[in-house]
Amino acid sequence: MGFHQISVKVNGNDEVVTVSSNMTLLRMLRESLALTGTKNGCAAGECGACTVMLNGEPVNSCMVLAVEVDGQEITTIEGLAKDGQLDIVQKTIIEKGGVQCGFCTPGMLISARALLNRNPHPTEEQVVEALVGNLCRCTGYSRIIESVQAAAERS
């Protein structure tokens, strides 16, 4: 099986990583770069727990090969807060009580941040659509949806 050396910017840092052909972006982040905030919930593009931003757009990192991100930019949950300041979506999800077990939270927040980047003032239905690929079994979602709306109002 082939190995490839790739260069990738992750949360603003330049990284050079050697990856096998079958290594997913998810595995590279967790195993090669020790960025374990990105979660593995299904490895099949279904649950959204592994959502990260690839050049600003959210992707299921289990559905992207590591070798495909050569020369690209990745943002993970660890890169959301800037200079010790939580992102507004992190603040509002805390305030609204949208966190329980926390396993879906990183992917959920990446989807939320990406939504607000492309659409700073989404309607409720647009929030619902943007988060439909992030499964949560604890909260019943409504507090998460409210938190994204609250973040939009405040930014």
């Binding site: 979660k39 009580g97 396993f103 079994r137």
Partner: protein
């Protein structure tokens, strides 16, 4: 470091919606779950060879090719682990030995230097199985004609409250014989009888099961696991390996959702088995999402036949309740869920005459486990519907019917236990009011139909009579407080609630309290399990006692230093104050170094450490033949749910306009967390009621992925999901609190079915209450053509 003296703090936090303790870690990705722990290059990866046959005799297992594959370090099979294990009934081994009993059962396992190699090695293991006739229906399984799945049932070890029937597939037969059912039915004006089938469903935590095990040179075993029950896992591992508990250590970090499936032991045993032969290298086993669906404990299916009668005034007089629980290939919690199905079989109704047969039946399906509600969603699915049918038949207002028959404090319930005060009437009133229940509302379009449903539930913690809790409270130099517990933060917010309880009992601000984690059976105080909605009540009592113990030590120390009576002292906002002398002293430093006696004459006090334990002492056993006894359980949480829906007659799709859930929680230690449990629980209940079913065909699950097994998403929510509570204090709960974790999802199947009936006049009674089922039922009934 911020000066803790000037930090604004939340005093008397019990009853306040303080912010969760664990959120900073969880929103930044810093929270460590088991899969996030680094183990370095020594780590081996385990994979499991599983049965593809539902029932059969193992004729040959050949692992030689797997062993020869470079990178493979360990291969284990059933031969290596002969001990019988099981939480109640000891009826299974870690790996199938002579016989396989369900598709997905572990036959062998491999540990290798990478997951890919382990996966390849699994494919190289050859297994020959001679198929046997199998059982895929619990009612058939209980009959004389069914092939026996456990011919050795008579020889299995089991506790004295589980009643297997040797020579059959019945692993537990629990009976209620209360009053005279036969006579009472003769007095009924109306009798309704209906049979229901509730399918198998899965828990679906977003974090799949994971465990890492390592054996130390002295033979001690450490297991890191996503676990709801580190202590009971410890004892289970000890039994599987035939060693004592002290040789095992379980470390359990954050859990990415449990809902019951991470209680007891499933795949964790495989990691332990592999590690026991890996020469000290840690071994990680992680279920794929697919394995999570078809190999993990399931919410077992239920077939239930209910016959209930009432008099002309609407008083329910009699119930006959026959239950066949599809316990699966062997039992873990299943036999006890069946017991719960029996001793709760009346639902929250005052019924003088009851005959119940609750049977747990071996089948060739996945093994039944605990799932949020512990049988109560399945049981109430039927009861809520039959009660609705009865009310309609005698022409009584549904709310009035429920209120007339709802159980009350002082009633002697189904097992003869005298009920403690319950606020069920108030719950019903609140739901009826909030939902405008008596008003028939108009649908939003001519192709839609509108309807409402209502129902009530109860649930007691289902646990051994002597499930215990313990806690330690330590104070630090800066006046902050560290609380050690053995219960688990699985998302429900228990660490937050424990911090509130400790702060309140001690007299410090909530923000000064930290809960020690991860739970580690070597250092953490004992806790039975994080199940049964029991922590706020049981562990809460232990924490409260530990905090009070610490408080007593502090007050005695200061009293001695000041020459005062401890009764005149209090702790307020981190200061000991005297109500007599009005003196005050900060907790800082004195809680570790003590207080000097005047004139350099030595020191008083020293490090403050409070200890507290709790175990109910009053739960009695039930008579084997009648199910009667003085006190079957510790208490009941009761509640009511109502749902207002619209059905699209062109597709059968349900849209929930409004859902209202009201539960009697005794005391809401953290009102917002209570509401969060109720909201989330409702959505899980709705999801299971509308979408979920393990499609088992000849024992094979046909939909083991999120693509095929759908759960609710952001797009499937009610327009309004309203959560409320009432507070009728529990005599032995901390500040009166009792549990609420499981209850919110238990009414939903039945209530939704009632709403569907109200909307379209057709009873679609067996979940999933899918659009397809509703449409085809409307078609058959001529509602649509």
């Amino acid at each position: 470091m911020a000066n803790t003296d000037t930090k604004p703090g939340t005093m008397n936090p019990v009853g306040k919606s303080v912010q969760r303790l664990d959120v900073m870690e969880k929103v930044t990705g810093a929270a460590h779950y088991t899969d996030d722990i680094p183990f370095g290059n020594a780590l081996l990866y385990g994979r499991v060879k599983r049965s593809t046959v539902a029932h059969g005799l193992i004729k040959r297992i050949d692992v030689s090719k797997a062993k020869a594959l470079p990178g493979v370090k360990v291969v284990v099979t059933g031969e290596d682990f002969p001990n019988l294990i099981g939480l109640y009934l000891k009826d299974k081994t870690v790996f199938a030995r002579d016989r396989v009993r369900f598709v997905g059962e572990a036959i062998a396992a491999v540990a290798a230097t990478s997951e890919e190699i382990a996966e390849k090695a699994i494919d190289l293991i050859e297994v020959d199985i001679e198929p046997l006739p199998a059982v895929f229906d619990a009612e058939f399984g209980a009959s004389k004609d069914a092939p026996l799945i456990h011919p050795d049932l008579a020889n299995y070890e089991c506790p004295n409250f589980i009643f297997p029937v040797p020579g059959t597939n019945i692993s537990n037969h629990f009976k209620i014989r209360k009053g005279n059912t036969e006579e009472a039915f003769k007095k009924c004006a109306v009798i309704m009888e209906k049979k229901f089938r509730v399918p198998h469903v899965q828990h679906v935590p977003i974090e799949p099961h994971i465990a890492v095990a390592q054996v130390e040179p002295d033979g001690d075993v450490t297991v890191w696991a996503a676990s709801q029950s580190p202590f009971s896992q410890r004892s289970s591992f000890a039994k599987a390996l035939g060693v004592s508990e002290s040789k095992i250590r379980v470390i359990a970090g954050y859990v990415g959702g449990g809902f019951g499936c991470k209680a007891g032991v499933t795949m964790e045993n495989v990691a332990v088995a592999l590690a026991s032969k890996s020469g000290g290298r840690p071994v990680k086993v992680r279920l794929t999402r697919e394995e999570e669906f078809f190999t993990n404990f399931v919410r077992q299916g239920l077939i239930i036949n209910l016959k209930i009668g009432c008099d002309a005034q609407g008083n329910v007089l009699a119930m006959e309740n026959n239950q066949w629980w599809d316990g699966g290939a062997s039992t873990e919690y299943g036999v006890n869920i069946t017991r719960a199905g029996g001793y709760n079989s009346s639902g929250p109704f005052d019924i003088p005459n009851i005959t119940t047969n609750a049977m747990c039946v071996y089948t060739n399906h996945p093994i039944g486990g605990a799932y949020r509600g512990f049988g109560m969603s399945e049981l109430h699915a039927g009861i809520i519907q039959v009660m609705d049918m009865l009310a309609e038949k005698i022409g009584m207002d549904k709310v009035e019917f429920l209120k007339r028959n709802a159980i009350q404090g002082g009633d002697f319930n189904v097992t003869g236990m005298k009920m403690h005060p319950v606020g069920l009437q108030e719950c019903i009133d609140k739901v009826a009011k909030e939902l405008n229940f008596s008003v028939k509302e108009k649908a939003s379009s001519p192709t839609k139909r509108r309807g409402k449903g209502i129902g009530i539930v109860w649930k007691a913690p289902s646990m051994p009579p002597n499930a215990g809790s313990s806690a330690e409270v330590r104070l630090n130099e800066d006046g902050s407080v560290t609380v050690s517990v053995g219960g688990q933060e699985i998302g429900q917010g228990t660490f937050t609630v424990m911090a509130q309880i400790a702060a309140e009992a001690l007299g410090v601000a909530y923000e000064m309290v930290k809960i020690e984690g991860p739970v580690d059976t070597r250092y953490s105080p004992y806790e039975w399990q994080t199940v049964a909605s029991r922590l706020t009540w049981s562990m809460g009592n232990a924490v409260r006692r530990a905090a009070e113990d610490a408080r007593k030590n502090i007050l005695e120390m200061v009293a001695e230093a000041w020459g005062e009576n401890p009764a005149n002292l209090d702790i307020k906002n981190g200061y000991v104050v005297s109500m007599k002398s009005e003196e005050s002293i900060s907790l800082k430093n004195i809680v570790v170094y003590g207080i000097p006696r005047p004139g350099d004459q030595g020191w008083i006090g020293g490090p403050v450490l409070g200890r507290g334990t709790f175990m109910p002492s009053y739960v009695t056993n039930l008579d084997k033949d009648t199910g009667q006894g003085a006190r079957a359980v510790v208490h009941y949480t009761t509640g009511c749910q109502g749902i207002d829906i619209e059905i699209d007659t062109e597709t059968g799709k349900i849209e929930i306009i409004k859902a209202v859930s009201v539960f009697d929680v005794g005391k809401a230690i953290n009102p917002d967390l209570v509401k969060a449990q109720i909201e989330g629980g409702f959505i899980q209940g709705m999801s299971s009621a509308i979408f979920e079913e393990m499609k088992l065909v000849n024992g094979v699950m046909k939909n083991p992925s999120f693509v095929d097994y759908r759960i609710a998403t952001t797009a499937d929510l009610p327009r309004e999901n309203i959560a409320m509570f009432v507070e009728t204090a529990q005599d032995d709960g901390p500040w009166g609190a009792r549990g609420i974790g499981e209850h919110p999802m238990t009414p939903t199947i039945g209530v939704l079915a009632n709403a569907i009936y109200d909307a379209v006049g057709v009873r679609v009674s067996n979940p999933p209450l899918s659009a397809e089922k509703i449409y085809l039922a409307m078609l058959e009934a001529g509602v649509v053509s």
